[in-house]
Symmetry: C2
Subunit: 267 residues, 2 copies
């Protein structure tokens, strides 16, 4: 189906997910259910679950855990109890041995009691915090993504999981940099505070106009490049370990939870 | 050996742990290496590790994870790389099928490559924050513990792990209650903000002068009972699942990490 106008959609996460379940929403979720937490999805076989949860625990900035569902469980009891994880994400990707093999709207035919679901924080929530604090984000509402970079900073490995941290970059006006740190620090469950302010070379980034993922945006005069740990990290790391089966959301097609952003604020 | 005077001990965590390893410190660790994070210890067989880590993830207030060591690993690479978890806690308890069977100064004879070590936050760090903010804690320096209560609030279960949340209680002067919330909110990795202010009945606590663990302390006029999630919770929950082998620290005999309290502050 074509992209629906976000403004015509229900703002209640449960009603939204019903439409996703029926296949009536299969589009990007940016801007949907404003004020509610959206999550990255990683589904892995049970025998990788401990190491992957440990990897997330060791790398909380790129891999903030919102909820983990035990093997075979499909209802996220904490973050969205009425949801079914097999049908309520608008678009999924199927990976076998690290290779993309399918893109689908439901994963029922791939599901088994051996699968463990990880819901990880995504940048939408902290971007809301930035915007609430008067920081304009030009990609917002365009359907396009921020600039993202593989860095020279290694994550802390766990079992078969290791690899570089991926960061997202946003241009922040000089006089808003402090506010950007403060407002995102409140939300460690959605990547939290920046990992770097104004020094891309410390992350091994040679040219901020040439991102590895997403697209570059032009700065205004005096803007400072600010870097946050990015939820692409856990997917990239999981993929690099070439698990026999991995299921993720398709880029930009997130799982919409019942949690409100403010539920995740630590202060 | 007899309790050494804390004031005569090295303040460096590594030097302290060397003395523990040699059996020259086997005492309570309260007040040692001031400003450094001390941790609760739970060691479990590998096949319980995912569920226990998941239990901690679902119950971050009582079970804040400082570090998890993969099966067979003995060096906490993040929080104390030079330490050996088998020798550097002053006193351990050995539990079999939920029953205390031994109390020892090293666990080398119980160790195997099947064991996974969990280091969980302890209240010492947030008590430092309270004291730094001018809140007197009468148990501090006495070698005695705060009052602790089993509550009527259930933890969120994971696998075989379930049970009531245990809380610690401190009397806080009315005009310091806000400061107590603020100063401990900065430290979610060591239990963080209170779970209740001034309403013990909401936790199913009938009489604050009759704690389930530790001892009661007398309030000053106008003091408010404030409750924090307590690190006794994960031990009690693990014990209740009656694992074939579980190793913990002996009460008050914590693992001293190299981390500083301030390293755990979110803001």
């Amino acid at each position: 189906m074509t992209q629906m106008q976000v403004s015509t959609l229900p703002t209640n996460p449960g009603e939204l997910r019903d439409l996703m379940r029926k296949g009536e929403i299969t589009s990007f979720t940016a801007g949907m259910a404003p004020g509610h937490v959206q999550a990255n999805l990683v589904i892995l076989p049970r025998d990788l679950a401990f190491d992957f949860l440990l990897f997330c625990q060791r790398n909380p900035k790129p891999c903030p855990v919102i909820e983990v569902l035990e093997a075979g469980q499909v209802h996220p009891v904490t973050s969205a109890p009425t949801a079914d994880i097999r049908t309520d994400v608008p678009r999924y990707r199927i990976w076998r041995d690290g290779e993309l093999t399918d893109e689908v709207e439901t994963i029922e035919k791939y599901w088994s009691d051996d699968l463990v679901t990880f819901l990880l924080g995504c940048s939408f929530s902290f971007e809301n915090a930035l915007r609430d604090n008067g920081i304009d984000l030009p990609h917002w509402g365009t359907g396009e993504n921020v600039a993202m970079f593989k860095t020279s900073v290694d994550t802390v490995p766990a079992g078969p999981f290791s690899g570089p941290m991926v960061v997202s970059m946003r241009w922040i006006p000089q006089d808003k940099v402090v506010r950007a740190v403060q407002s995102t620090s409140r939300f460690p469950a959605v990547h939290g505070a920046p990992v770097n302010i104004g020094d891309p070379s410390a992350l091994g980034i040679a040219d901020v106009s040439k991102p590895d993922f997403g697209r570059a945006w032009d700065p205004n005069p005096g803007d400072v490049p600010v870097f946050w740990a990015c939820g692409v990290t856990p997917q990239a790391v999981a993929m690099a370990s070439k698990p026999p089966l991995m299921i993720t959301h398709a880029p930009g097609h997130m799982f919409v939870t019942d949690l409100r952003d403010v539920d995740l604020a630590v202060l």
